[in-house]
Amino acid sequence: MLIDLIISAIKAIFVVLLVLNLSAVLLWFERKGSALIQDRIGANRAGLFGIGRRLGLPNLGIINTFIADPLKIFTKEDFVPDRADKFLYTLAPFLALFPVLISFAPIPFGDRLIVGSHQIELVVCPLTAGILYILAALGLGVYGAALGGWASNNRWALLGSVRASAQLISYELTMGLSIIAVVMVYGTLDLQEICRAQSGTWFGWLPKWGIVYQPLGFLLLLVAGIAESRRIPFDLPEGESELVAGYFTEYSGGKQAAFMLADFAEIVLVSALISTLFFGGWQVPYLQSDGFHLPGGTWLPLSNPVVALLGFVAFGIKVVFFCWLQILIRWTLPRFRYDQLMTLGWKGLLPLGLVNLMVTAVAIVAVGGSV
């Protein structure tokens, strides 16, 4: 009993730390990536007493991003605008960050790990209705953006809030539809089950990943996910050039950091969801619970901890890849106009999602049951 509790606590803390750190890494990715695309050097300040320079290493801005900036932002004055709604103003950043963090709970980051007599599912909280839980948590996420802007008592911030909440609930539909199609294919709402169902291969070489069943669903989830995390080309709620920073214009210090962390965590969440639903989650091609089964028929036996570790690493690589993809998209595309955004959501993606759902349903009936 107690040991289970401890294991659960460790898993939870591990995932939260992982997400927060990954968010920080993404910030660095973003700086360096944008610089790469724009043919600049990017973050290269704040070396550690010039040690790196003396050793002749290139300054990658790591200390800048991971130590100097957080220090700066957390020591700034925590400013509350006059006539703001103090209570909601303070609450909003937590409302933004908290739902994103809790929505990682049912996402599996590895297969079973066997330690002694304990079988540990590598997922914080195995839920039979995990997908509903994620959708519910995402639904809660609206309020951070919505109330933050409203409470600031700043008209640009409020405009950002209005845009954010309208955009979020519009694209949530598409997101839900594409996820439901996957659920129909696998016949379960449990994400770990969905991952397990993606093991094995077709024709001996093609991994049985969800992307093969649901290519359109993948695209829909990717687009809707980017819109959910309010990134370019859907960054109208923040729209730096028109709204300063949208709903968190008035925020500073730790609260602003919370909003930014929430944004990056949301990128990680979208990537994790995409990897889990469409790219096998922690599945490594040809790796089964007892080792590699290569297409040629060779068998490379591996022990359970190694398999679990490989799965976790594979999951991490997939997540980081999709984070990178989102950053690439962010620095490549221009911003939509707001009516274009709504048109795309309601008249483009939503009908596509419905068609996808319909085709999936018919196909499942034709084949005679889910996978």
Partner: protein
């Protein structure tokens, strides 16, 4: 659900429900409503209704309450003024509340219900789907009609009609100048 956890959520639900009806600022009422809804969702999950509890969070908190928020923004509602007098209504409310609290005591004292043991798939999506597409098929189809009604109805009532034909029209027939 253990009694302690129940007590926590129940207390929070009641306090925030009181917050909904007692606070002057509509946005604060709304926030209190969200808390109540989430507490109710948690209690539902405690009653083994996992899917429905989560749906409650998705549908109510994620969609319906956001609609309220939009309308509050749109109408630019600030704090309500302090309400004066209206003793009659308040008296009525007091009587109604007393009656309902009487009902409450009737529940607590005169009924004896215990939780039965249920299968592990109780409240799962599969079980719900089986019922919805079985015994409740007609009800399910009717809800699709209801949603259509909502779509058509909202468009009919809330859209500002752009057409000049209507813009030039007097609001009622009787308001027309009698020629």
């Amino acid at each position: 659900m253990p009694l302690g956890i129940f007590a926590f959520f129940a207390t929070l639900a009641v306090i925030s429900a009181l917050g909904v009806i007692l606070q002057r600022s509509p946005v604060h009422s709304l926030l209190a409503l969200i808390v109540t809804l989430l507490c109710v969702a948690a209690l539902m999950i405690g009653l083994d209704a996992l899917a429905v509890g989560l749906l409650q969070a998705i549908v109510y908190v994620g969609a319906i309450v956001v609609l309220f928020l939009f309308v509050i923004w749109l109408l630019n509602l600030e704090r309500d003024p302090e309400e004066s007098g209206r003793l009659g209504i308040k008296l009525l409310a007091a009587v109604g509340a007393a009656a309902l609290v009487g009902e409450l005591t009737a529940f607590l004292t005169r009924t004896h219900m215990s939780q039965q043991t249920v299968n592990s798939d109780y409240g799962s999506m599969a079980q719900l789907a089986g019922l919805i597409f079985g015994n409740y098929l007609i009800a399910f189809e009717v809800t699709s009609l209801l949603l259509l009604v909502a779509v058509v109805g909202v468009v009919a009532v809330a859209r500002r009609w752009p057409s000049p034909r209507l813009a030039n029209r007097p609001p009622t027939l009787s308001a027309k100048p009698q020629t």
